[in-house]
């Protein structure tokens, strides 16, 4: 058991007997009220999210989760195949649990994952990732309007709005939360 005030992002909690992972945590002090912790929780079994507001002083049941490195191998349209870097065991993860992650994860890359009972319940994607521009629209010649943008597609299939000077084969840094272009990366 831990106090709600100690809860942090990435922790596992048992709510009404079911395991949840903490996706978001915010401290709230309503005007003239006690201190609360507002949580967004995700069920690793159903993928459903849940909002909970708990008093900081209340106790909640936490569960033992373990962080571990996995290599993303490939996806078969239904499962991400994650290879345990210690045992080389393939741990399939339902893609529907991590919507859109196929556009962010790079095959062969290592990811820190949170596991509970040997199942992956969270995949941590760094907030800034460098991607290769696999496809880029040609910039219209003579288009010198400041702030002009176009779309490119990364090697993972993610479409990103970028400045027009970005070309195919170049590398760009992307904010994986907002899917926004940050900068061009020169090797």
């Amino acid at each position: 058991m831990i106090k709600a005030g100690q809860i942090d992002k990435g922790m596992g909690l048992l709510i009404k007997g079911a395991p949840y992972i903490v996706v978001e945590r915010e401290f709230v002090n309503p005007g003239k009220g006690s201190a609360f912790v507002r949580l967004k929780l995700k069920s690793p079994t159903t993928g459903q999210t849940l909002q909970e507001t708990i008093k900081s002083q209340d106790s909640v049941e936490d569960i033992e989760v373990v962080d571990h490195n996995y290599q993303y191998s490939y996806n078969d349209g239904e499962y991400f195949h994650m290879i345990d870097e210690d045992t080389y065991e393939d741990t399939p993860v339902q893609m529907s649990m991590f919507e859109g992650y196929e556009l962010l994860m790079k095959e062969g890359e290592s990811y820190r994952c949170t596991t509970y009972n040997d199942e992956i319940i969270d995949i941590q994607i760094p907030s800034k990732v460098v991607y290769l521009v696999a496809e880029a629209e040609e910039a219209i010649k003579g288009d010198t309007v400041q702030g002009a943008t176009k779309f490119v597609t990364t090697e993972t299939g993610l479409r990103v709005r970028v400045p027009i000077f970005i070309k195919q084969g170049e590398k760009i840094r992307v904010n994986t939360e907002t899917k926004e272009y940050l900068e061009r990366v020169n090797d």
């Binding site: 401290f27 002090n29 309503p30 003239k32 009220g33 912790v37 909002q51 909970e52 507001t53």
Partner: protein, 320 residues
């Protein structure tokens, strides 16, 4: 470093705009103590204490103020008229997070002859006229909605019909599927509902003003039936400002001090928390107190919103 220097410049500009607004509108800027021998008893706000030590005068405990309200009201009672202050405030054990820091900057302004509705109009004008360039949040008219209507809209529960703790609790458990410990006070269940369903529905780039808070939440705002004449302004989940039509009855202020001091002592006895002294004669200043309305606004939060930042730490040059 360049970014922090930029923030220092933005804060300077914002404060200059604030001072110019209140000077133009006839408010007197005041500076009141932040170290005090007594506080307004507020059981939900933990305090900092320190020792005054003097070989000849003796030692005594002093407290860092969680808001300048205590002294600003003394000035109003003395006939200072409308006043404002930018000051540092201190709240102990304040959860350190995206919008909380134990030491923070607050703007408080009191307008004599005003009620909470007048303060809404003033605050909207204030935010528009003092906003930094490129901040579009306060150009749009804020949405104004009563707490009762907001709770009804977001959850379907009617607070008017759920005035006792067990009714509110059972509706929240059965209709909103919330986990609520039994025997929870009404105001805690209300706050849970409000934080979970109402605060989270406020749009990120638009201000919403919630008016008429439940009377069960004891405070120094005038009561009107089941509610109190106060409002809070939010932008997204960030609570930015809080306003009262101020209580002016000596007896009601005295009762408030007695009840809240008792609650504070009972909650903190046996813990390491500071139990600040309260001044039993404070209520007497209301013997000759004009009708007025006060607004408290978190300036680090305001700067955070106006500069497009997402964490209060990014507005501070140094943080814990």
């Amino acid at each position: 470093m360049a970014q922090k220097k930029n923030i220092a410049e933005l804060r300077r500009r914002l404060y200059a705009n604030i001072r110019s607004f209140f000077d133009k509108n006839g408010y007197l800027e005041v500076e009141t103590p932040i170290l005090s021998s007594a506080l307004i008893p507020e059981p939900t706000i933990d305090n900092f204490s320190t020792m005054f030590m003097n070989e000849f005068l003796g030692s005594r405990e002093l407290y860092l103020l969680p808001s300048p309200e205590l002294y600003m009201k003394k000035l109003i009672a003395e006939g200072y008229g409308s006043i404002y202050q930018i000051s540092k405030c201190f709240r102990n054990a304040e959860q350190v997070g995206r919008i909380h820091s134990p030491e923070f900057s607050m703007l408080e302004y009191y307008t004599t002859g005003f009620d909470e509705k007048d303060s809404i109009a003033l605050t909207i004008r204030f935010l528009r006229e003092t906003a930094l360039e490129d901040c579009g949040i306060f150009e749009r008219e804020p949405e104004i909605i009563s707490v009762r209507d907001a709770v009804l809209k977001c959850t379907g529960l009617d607070l008017d019909l759920l005035q006792n703790a067990s009714d509110l609790r059972s509706e929240a458990v059965s209709k909103l599927f919330m986990n609520i410990p039994s025997a929870e006070p009404w105001e805690d269940t209300f706050n849970r509902i409000f934080c979970t369903f109402v605060e989270t529905a406020v749009p990120e780039n638009h201000a919403v003003i919630f008016t008429d808070y439940p009377a069960q939440i004891n405070c120094l705002a005038l009561q009107n039936g089941n509610y109190r004449r106060r409002w809070e302004m939010y932008v997204g989940t960030t609570e930015l400002a809080n306003c009262y039509a101020e209580e002016t009855s000596v007896q009601k202020v005295r009762d408030y001090f007695n009840e809240e001091y008792r609650a504070l002592v009972s909650a903190r006895s046996g813990t390491e928390k500071v139990i600040p002294d309260s001044d039993p004669t404070y209520a007497n200043i209301f013997e000759n107190f004009p009708a007025c309305s006060g607004v408290a606004m978190g300036l680090d939060r305001l700067l955070m919103l106006e500069a497009g930042l997402h964490d209060i730490k990014d507005t501070l040059l140094f943080s814990m």
